[in-house]
Symmetry: C2
Subunit: 394 residues, 2 copies
């Protein structure tokens, strides 16, 4: 007995991703949920419960610290709202726990929402900024995200002979896809030259190898397949879910099974999701995927960790155009974190929304042909947690 085929997604929505200074946290949650309502033809009165994923309530006056931040704008009272957080997997955790709520028989119709408001950052030198930089256990040591992922790229180049040009191809692909996505943070195409000549952030990662800091929200409505059919919705099924917690970046160096060429958490989460979904050969059986490209190098090692190719073949996969929009296995047709943007709590739910739309044939200029099985993947914490879903047409 497992959750396979027990949960249907019947509506999805998201805000525009970007600098949403004109919208509060609650405004964004509301907009994403109402788009999902419109998609499903449902309203707040039809919902039994909700889950919300947000990483950092401290950025927005504690919004997202508990369910009230969703209940208030939706007038969801007195129904239950659960808050989950798991670094960059927060959004997929909201969907995963919402799925358990449905599959348990406790609720018939539930919301999974992810929100993060990141652009209203305190000015440098402010008390908040000083607090973060002087007391944060990671940032205070100078270990920012680019600093954590750059050594993976260095090691990847050394091991397999790739160079910065290969990373640049990931950025070019994802910016192209983002240029076709009206909700993407960045909508301009770029060339490999743009990437290679950009200012260096942490060698070998330049500005265009890094995802931006973004505001946004996304929502999904989950129910049982029986109800989805009764309501005559064009629904998508959850075929497999995996969440894996492993050692993180700071202890990777001490782990015998780590080589700084990928993430065990992704491999373990994928193994769980594939086993449940019955996927034997991901390269052939997955038709479209949204993966965690926080940096260009991350997308390459994700290809390998997710079994889209063998070890060391990630660079070849991107160079051969396999993961391009018109390739055999299009990856990040949304533009990915790189171009669509990465409002942390929202990202996982946004991925689910994008893949659901691909599988329903509703992705407009970005539509992939004959997509029946899709995948979403987020990686967080740093590297210690990963979540993988396999979604499919009924």
């Amino acid at each position: 007995m497992s959750i396979k085929d027990k949960v249907a997604i019947i509506g999805v929505g998201s805000t525009k991703f970007g600098e949403n200074f004109e919208m509060t946290y609650q405004d964004m949650a509301l907009e994403a949920v109402y788009e999902a309502y419109a998609d499903a033809g449902l309203e707040t009165k039809d919902m039994d419960a909700a889950w919300i994923g947000t990483l950092s309530p401290g950025l927005t006056g504690l919004e997202g610290d508990a369910g009230a931040s969703l209940a208030e704008p939706l007038n969801f009272y007195p129904r239950p709202v659960t808050r989950v957080s798991a670094y960059c997997c927060s959004g997929m955790e909201a969907v995963r726990n919402a799925a358990f709520g449905v599959a348990s028989g406790e609720y018939k119709m539930v919301l999974a929402v992810g929100v993060e408001k990141m652009r209203e950052v305190p000015p440098r030198g402010s008390l908040v900024a000083r607090h973060i930089h002087e007391t944060h256990p990671v940032i205070s040591k100078g270990r920012t995200a680019p600093g954590i992922f750059a050594p993976i790229a260095t090691r990847y180049f050394h091991q397999y002979g790739y160079g910065k040009e290969t990373l640049a191809k990931v950025a070019v692909k994802n910016h192209y896809n983002g240029s076709l996505n009206p909700k993407a943070h960045f909508r301009s195409t770029i060339t490999e030259d743009t990437v290679l000549k950009a200012p260096m952030v942490v060698d070998p990662l330049g500005l265009f190898d890094c995802c931006p800091t973004t505001d946004g929200a996304a929502a999904a409505i989950l129910t049982t397949p029986e109800i989805a059919r009764e309501l005559k919705k064009d629904y998508i099924l959850i075929k497999g879910m995996g969440l894996a917690v492993t050692y993180g970046y700071f202890s990777m160096a001490f782990q015998e099974d780590n080589d700084f060429l990928g993430f065990k958490s992704t491999r373990e989460a994928a193994a769980m999701a594939y086993r449940q979904a019955g996927i034997k050969d991901p390269r052939k059986e997955i038709h479209v995927a949204e993966v965690h490209d926080c940096f260009t190098i991350t997308e390459l090692v994700n290809y390998e960790d997710l079994g889209f190719c063998g070890r060391g073949e990630g660079g070849k996969l991107i160079a051969d155009g396999i993961t391009a929009l018109n390739g055999e296995l299009p990856v990040n047709t949304s533009g990915g974190l790189k171009s669509c943007g990465h409002p942390v709590g929202a990202t996982g739910v946004r991925m689910v929304a994008d893949v659901v739309n691909q599988l329903r044939g509703r992705s407009g200029k970005r539509q992939v042909k004959k997509a029946a099985i899709g995948l979403t993947h987020t990686l967080g914490g740093p590297g210690s947690i990963a979540c993988v879903f396999v979604l499919g047409r009924p």
Copy 2:
């Protein structure tokens, strides 16, 4: 279809509550889980997944911000660990979502853990303390917890004619119960005189009307009733669960249905749990309860909100000894938040552990006679969220 009778609790554990300076966050999590393992005769290898509840990872270098804080001490890799937070309901939310994980069929055996390390506070005047006091959206306005609950007491006195002596009876009862609980933070009995002569915190709440700041962790092991029977465990069933999110304290004044004499969130959560469990008359059908006595006044209004008595009769219930250890409906036999202590994320799981032990007849000097149905209740955020479980013997 609901979750009623689908989930069994087969092991519980907790650390000593108090000033656990000698233990880290992870040490406490480990100790609570290992006690639950010993109780159930199980080990980490038998577990499929876990949920952890912690309110404030910021207090302990981000411990509890995601599942890694539980996975590392238990060597739980690569299994899934979900982090939930919901103010003072964080612990019960860990149990509630773990229950969905089991009832969904996804997992057979799971852990629900709550942990909070609160005593290692930064010194006054430190950058962290200044950050909290100058930028925290609530505390910076002088609205601390005693300031939020004191007006409820003032209004309660005005409406029903009770006085501080009535509040003192709650403190005396809970300190007595705590004196019999080897794991309680405070183990000394007190008199009404102690309470009435204590320094004032926020009028009419004195020092002994307030729960302490405490370190601690608690754990529970959940599985299906079928597996519990196969393993021949003395298990307890989840009969009903309710989580309600309503308007909070800061908008209570604007709500037509609020009178500052109780919390709608508690009433709604209780209604959900009672409906599911088939409880018609809580006063007669509930045999033992752990309720959220963050302040003495809270316990009194909880009695009313939970239906243990009519409106305005909470003061009479305590005065008549109904909720005393040897009364008809013993409440907070652990000592409650008031005497056992309140490590926020741990409290809800600790309550479940205490009630499970009462229902299994394992509460030693605090054992209640003929307890077959028990209740746990937490209230948080401030007042915007409440969680109620009804637990029962098979």
